[in-house]
Homo-oligomer: 136 residues x 4
């Protein structure tokens, strides 16, 4: 495991063309916990002006993976589920906070909360849970 988890995680994120396309940033990566954020942009919306659900699911997927990777090293996302709690409207950015709730030698169960952040206040817009598996 790299000693500087955050620098390592950011270097990986920079090599994910899709994460670069949507503009994701890694704010926190420490043992058992990760935070990704996404500044709001026109290209992230759906037809009614809300953030597209697929953007929230991308963000949850990736945050869960970073949380799992923080304790397992090189990982794959095995599966996850997401509940949309509130439509994501105008905000400054989306923030996904993920943590490990249980882990073994080969996999970790993680949870993630995705928030809308505006003027420093956060509102929950999605909740996710999934399994991250150590890559062989």
């Amino acid at each position: 495991m790299p000693t500087d988890l955050l620098a390592y995680g950011r270097e990986v994120l920079a090599r994910q063309p899709f994460s670069v396309l949507v503009g994701a940033q890694l704010d926190v990566m420490e043992p058992g916990r990760a935070q990704l954020s996404l500044p709001m942009a026109e290209g992230l919306l759906q037809q009614d002006g809300f953030v597209h659900g697929g953007v929230l699911s991308y963000l949850a997927d990736n945050a869960l993976t970073y949380a799992g990777g923080s304790v397992l090293g090189k990982v794959l996302t095995s599966e996850f589920k997401i509940n949309y709690v509130r439509p994501a409207t105008a905000a400054d950015r989306l923030v996904a906070v993920a943590s490990v709730v249980g882990s073994g030698r080969t996999q970790a169960v993680c949870r993630c909360d995705v928030f809308l952040e505006a003027n420093g206040e956060r509102k929950l817009c999605a909740a996710a849970q999934g399994t991250i598996r150590k890559a062989d």
Copy 2:
């Protein structure tokens, strides 16, 4: 409900900036069933050259929504889960096929298979299931 579901669905997709950004196409929308596809592109990958999981989850989310919308009209995705079955490598396109497995007056339970398609052959790379709810 519009009489020409496919034309309606394509018109909605064209107004989703995020779907336009990733390049999604609606191939099929008929009562109880929808198919979305995504031509492969560099911008959809992660650090190892595979399609980013978030792209597969976007595609599953949207295909589930179109399937639910085909029987309920204007809808929201309430929740879904996705299992990644196989890393999505070089292929011509991704194809997400979704169908309604049960529906009531206000919500539909749908399933979706996401395939890698190359030279006309399909391999399953993800399986999803979720709830689509009629918008109020």
Copy 3:
């Protein structure tokens, strides 16, 4: 909504033949939160002496429902997912703690942790998340 939520919840539980069969007890029911527990018994096991996964899923399902019901009144469980974190071995009882993470007029998204409790110490053995819907 009844004023004494816990008494109401216990009365409902006593009328669930399946909950009586397995021996579930409602320890807590207050706005946004519920706790169910299950004293260990031979009949709850699988072939290797661990608690059957179906017992953990029953307990999570019911605790999620009580949490949702604590804010919505009469409810149905719409869906849930559960991750098994650790095999549930010899213990005094299982304890499922559920809470509402987001709710609207007609549905609530809830999470649940299922613990093994022995000598007053708790270890997480499963994590669940689901949607509880107001009954029509």
Copy 4:
């Protein structure tokens, strides 16, 4: 892997005290597919006379596990999700049909449909999907 999968599966089921308690029967176990059924009984209900959701989740969990075990051998259920499609009312029995949708060396992704069966006719009452993992 035992040559007679069904006999093997039934022998395992007979050693699951919880499955014996609820009265589950293994009807089919063949490579990639399993069917469990549960004759209706008073003890399986909730307060409104419907089958308790926890019974459906037990049945789905176990059928998914048998399907995964049919291709992987000795297994554990890693996780699953279930959507309740229709309340399970008076019927002759519940039937859970599970199949493998994708599998590798160490895990299988499976789906399960749970039906109410009365007079030989089946109605879908729940749909599940999950991950079954080879036991170490």
